[in-house]
């Protein structure tokens, strides 16, 4: 539970993956899930770096990718804000989900599992709500 809370966001970083990627994915998930409101300001690069105890450049790298995906808008001198474009958020959310599904099905297929197997395994594991 190495969880860090800052500006309405939750982070837990480890060494299993590049830091910038973890920051990117966790902010992105928060946006996709609607845990952080559209138009809201997220912590500044320096603030985030200090809170997560990582280098500002590493945070920058994550923030720049978020902007490239148009999930955030950055205003020089003001800060970084979640986009107000709800459609864009849904677009990204669906794209990421599709990628996850494809990748998952490919993996399962490579192990020789069929659709029926996969469905029953998911139902068995299903600790997911709804």
């Amino acid at each position: 539970m190495n969880e860090i809370r800052i500006g309405g966001l939750r982070f837990s970083l480890d060494l299993s993956q590049p830091l910038y990627e973890q920051v990117l994915e966790q902010v992105r998930s928060s946006i996709a899930k609607g845990e952080i409101a559209l138009g809201e300001k997220i912590p500044s690069v320096r603030e985030m770096a200090q809170a997560l105890k990582i280098n500002p450049n590493t945070v920058m790298r994550a923030y720049q990718e978020l902007e490239r995906e148009r999930l955030t808008e950055t205003r020089r001198g003001q800060g970084t804000f979640i986009t107000t474009d709800a459609a864009r958020v849904q677009e990204i959310r669906n794209k990421l989900a599709e990628q996850a599904v494809e990748q998952f099905l490919a993996k399962m297929e490579s192990l020789g599992f069929g659709l029926k197997d996969i469905e029953s395994m998911i139902r068995a594991k299903g600790g997911v709500s709804q």
Copy 2:
């Protein structure tokens, strides 16, 4: 379609992932799927390296991991052979599938998707046989 065939195995390598990991996973999948018979010999380290145009050390790394997982048995001077332990193969196959399912569900949950959503997306994508 950068596919390479050697000793009943199919490989397609790229730069998106460590080479030794790709070799490992692709041999492992072939075993799990039963595409290569139990007890069968797989190409020698040097032979495989030459065919895939990679370094013998890189192949070694993959082969050693396969042996650690007890999916292969190596006999000095003779070669590397698929295990004859069918139960072990199923064990690994199921373990990998469980991991894939867990990781997938975690990812989907992080995007705010529930079980129903997931099931319908899988049915929609389902290009998998059976």
